[in-house]
């Protein structure tokens, strides 16, 4: 079927014809064949030089070149760690108040702190540091134990109610269920609601004020604005760690609360702790 084209008598056609258009059967240029062979040779080189065939369940052919992308990453990490060694050392021993005023230290701490936070802190406090029920938001202006860089540094280093660390911040919201009657608890809940701008039963709140003064004011203060020595929350503001509705406050008063934050000294380096403290301090709530 293949016939010769009038204009190209030397080239046969493939015999395919579409609406009278025929396909010339030109030979492939030979150099094209060579590039194909070169690709095969290159593939063989790749297989021999680089990790390739899985030989056994224990591992694969490591390649004559012993290339490892993991080693590349380790090398790169080491390169940056070496480059940052000086500033890292400086950060670990700098005056805490001076970090944010020093552009080099601050930039290093903010970038490193973001990474530390996402790795170790975000599980409880959230990627945006906005917390969750029982885990405080770190970006508002309310601090249980203080929001200065020193306070944050202390909290991160030694944790809160973390038994293994002797320097940990410690206090307790006791369970009042054994010591107060249900009516007293109901009244003090109404009182707490009334001072924080919530809707409250006025008579019950008045009765609750006495209960508060006798039992709660020791930690939360006469004015209920809390106390950072005990990590006692301010009860007059709009922020609630566990929730500000009647049911949750009643539960808090009845059974107590005992949130724990682990101590990070020993697990993170001093420089990393300072990085994350600096980072948290600049998320909008720092004092």
């Amino acid at each position: 079927m293949s016939k010769k084209d009038d204009k190209h008598p030397e080239v046969p056609t493939t015999g395919h014809s579409w609406d009278g258009i025929e396909e010339l059967d030109n030979p492939l240029p030979r150099w094209w064949l060579w590039t194909f062979y070169a690709c095969i040779a290159f593939a063989i080189y790749l297989f021999i030089w680089y990790p390739s065939w899985p030989i056994s369940t224990k591992g694969a052919w490591a390649g004559l070149g012993h290339y490892s992308s993991r080693a590349d990453v380790a090398k790169e990490i080491k390169k940056y760690n070496d480059a940052n060694a000086a500033v890292d050392k400086r950060l670990a021993s700098a005056d805490l108040n001076a970090i944010e005023k020093d552009p080099e230290l601050n930039s290093y701490a903010m970038n490193g702190g973001a990474a530390v936070f996402r790795t170790w802190c975000a599980q409880c406090h959230g990627a945006g540091a906005n917390g969750a029920k029982g885990f405080p938001s770190l970006i508002d202006d309310d601090w249980l134990w203080g929001g200065t860089i020193q306070d944050i540094h202390q909290t991160v280093s030694h944790g809160i109610r973390y038994a293994a660390d002797p320097d940990t911040r410690d206090s307790e919201m006791p369970a009042w269920g054994d010591q107060l009657s249900k009516a007293e608890i109901a009244n003090v809940v109404q009182y707490v609601l009334s001072i924080s701008g919530g809707q409250a039963d006025k008579a019950a709140a008045k009765a609750g004020a006495t209960v508060f003064a006798d039992n709660c004011a020791a930690c939360h203060g006469e004015d209920a604005k809390g106390g950072r020595d005990f990590g006692a929350p301010n009860l007059t503001d709009a922020i609630w760690l566990y929730g500000g509705d009647v049911k949750t406050i009643t539960k808090t008063v009845t059974y107590g609360r005992k949130g724990v934050m682990p101590a990070w000294s020993g697990r993170l380096s001093e420089s990393q702790i300072r990085q994350v403290a600096t980072y948290i301090h600049q998320q909008g709530g720092g004092e």
Partner: protein, 476 residues
């Protein structure tokens, strides 16, 4: 008619060597000038200096990948203005469409780097090894001392050109004088050597050996061009009605039955693609027009009018054959297709020029923090956080005032600043955190979304720019 039964067609064919002959004429001269201009632009551009003040590079054309900036004389393109580059590429594409539909493969024939460098390499070849006949003889000769000497000389000169070509490329990406010093001292960045080496290799291979194979087998453009050409496209063609039947003119009786083509093969011998234009339009023809020069020279010698091979449109062939004059050139060029390409091309160009003059010297991005969308503060007010990136495209550090409208219903603070004022160093991008607070029980705090506008004012120039965004309240 089949020959596949007795003798199957060959699957692979060796490259046919091509020995283009020296030619003189208008189009050859035009190509020489274009070669000088295009090569000149390529080699010299990185060395042009352009003063931009103390903090910026003084190279007129510089693609600075380290700071992600593109400098072109008085224009400075930042990465977020990459649409300028995209626009230029679109214009280049539309320009090619326009030229192809009007004038066929002029790009291929005159301006394509592959054509220009191959032309240069062939010229070198001719200087060293002689013109067509000498080169054919040398090709067939045994590898004796003479042939080896000529070949080595030729390859050496090719290599010099290739190194200069690969070398010029890297100067577009770094300060040329500094990089040249580094290259000479062996202290240039590793990547510079990689590029010089690979571009030297490709120039040497493509210009010296691959040549027409690149156009025929590798380049996609010839295939795409077929879609842009039609019977009105002016392209290089052979006036078959005038030339045929071809034959050597003799002083014999039947000489006047012959056409003007004297079958001297001059057009074939000068062709860098090794084709015969008398076969008609074909894929391999790059319309370099050298066959026109060759044929015109021959026609002058035998006392015939020029233009047996000429720039012409396909429709003219039929008209001329029937004795009618060809359509005027402007009628071929001015048609719907070329008008559409021109309008599109000019439209993109006008847009780019307008964008270039309208763009501000300050530019900023707002990205609202959406995790969380808002924060409740202890006094019950609602706060949103916005990450601002302010680009200061000026040669000096400037102070910028950040504010929010509508005024009076929000409190604003900038992280680390007391007065909403930030300083961005010259030619840098400053990252700042803007806190916007709606007071307790204010409409914005209670609503779902409130439209707000963030302003950045340059305190030095008083330029103001804004970005619209939304404030998230508790209502959603």
């Amino acid at each position: 008619m089949t020959n596949s039964a007795e003798e199957p067609p060959k699957l692979y064919a060796a490259q046919e060597p091509i020995f283009p002959r020296r030619v003189y004429g208008f189009f050859r001269s035009l190509k020489w000038s274009l070669m000088i201009v295009t090569l000149g632009i390529y080699y010299i551009t990185p060395w042009i200096r352009w003063d931009r003040g103390p903090n910026l590079p003084d190279q007129a054309v510089l693609i600075d990948l380290s700071t992600r900036r593109f400098f072109f004389f008085w224009i400075e393109i930042w990465p977020q203005e990459f649409y300028f580059v995209a626009g230029l590429l679109i214009m280049a594409g539309l320009g090619l469409f326009l030229f192809t539909s009007a004038l066929g493969r002029v790009w291929c024939g005159y301006a394509c780097p592959q054509t220009v460098w191959t032309d240069l390499f062939v010229t070198v070849e001719r200087w060293i090894e002689g013109d067509r006949n000498a080169r054919v003889r040398l090709y067939k000769a045994k590898w004796d001392a003479h042939k080896i000497r000529l070949r080595l000389t030729k390859w050496f000169v090719w290599l010099l050109i290739s190194v200069a070509t690969g070398g010029a490329w890297v100067f577009y990406f770094a300060d040329a004088p500094t990089l040249l010093q580094q290259l000479v001292h062996g202290s240039a960045p590793y990547i510079a050597y990689v590029f010089i080496l690979s571009l030297t290799g490709t120039t040497f291979l493509f210009g010296g050996f691959a040549r027409e194979q690149i156009c025929i087998y590798m380049c996609p453009w010839p295939r795409i061009q077929a879609a842009m050409m039609d019977e009105d496209t002016i392209t290089v063609a052979y006036r078959a009605w005038r030339g045929e039947p071809r034959g050597k003119h003799r002083k014999s009786a039947d000489a006047d039955k012959l056409g003007d083509c004297i079958d001297c093969n001059a057009c074939v011998n000068v062709c860098p693609m090794g084709i015969d234009i008398r076969d008609g339009q074909q894929l391999a023809c790059i319309t370099c027009a050298l066959c026109i020069d060759a044929c015109d020279g021959m026609m002058a010698k035998v006392g015939k009018p020029r233009g047996l091979i000429d720039y012409m449109a396909l429709t003219d062939e039929a008209r001329e054959r029937s004795g009618k004059p060809p359509k005027p050139v402007w009628k071929h060029i001015l048609r719907l297709r070329t008008i559409i390409y021109t309008v599109l091309w000019a439209g993109v160009g006008a847009f780019l020029i307008a964008a270039l003059f309208l763009r501000s010297n300050i530019d900023f991005n707002v990205s609202p923090v959406r995790n969380p969308v808002y924060v409740t503060l202890s006094d019950g007010s609602i706060r949103n956080t916005f990450n601002l990136r302010i680009h200061n495209k000026q040669g000096q550090a400037h102070r910028f005032m950040i504010s929010v409208t509508p005024k009076g219903i929000f409190g604003t603070t900038v992280q680390g600043q007391k007065d909403g004022m930030v300083t961005v160093p010259a030619d840098e991008t400053g990252s700042h955190k803007l806190f916007v607070t709606a007071f307790r029980n204010s409409p914005a705090a209670k609503a779902g979304l409130t439209d707000i506008r963030i302003w950045v004012e340059d305190m030095e120039t008083k330029d103001r720019v804004y970005k619209d965004t939304v404030f998230n309240g508790k209502g959603r």
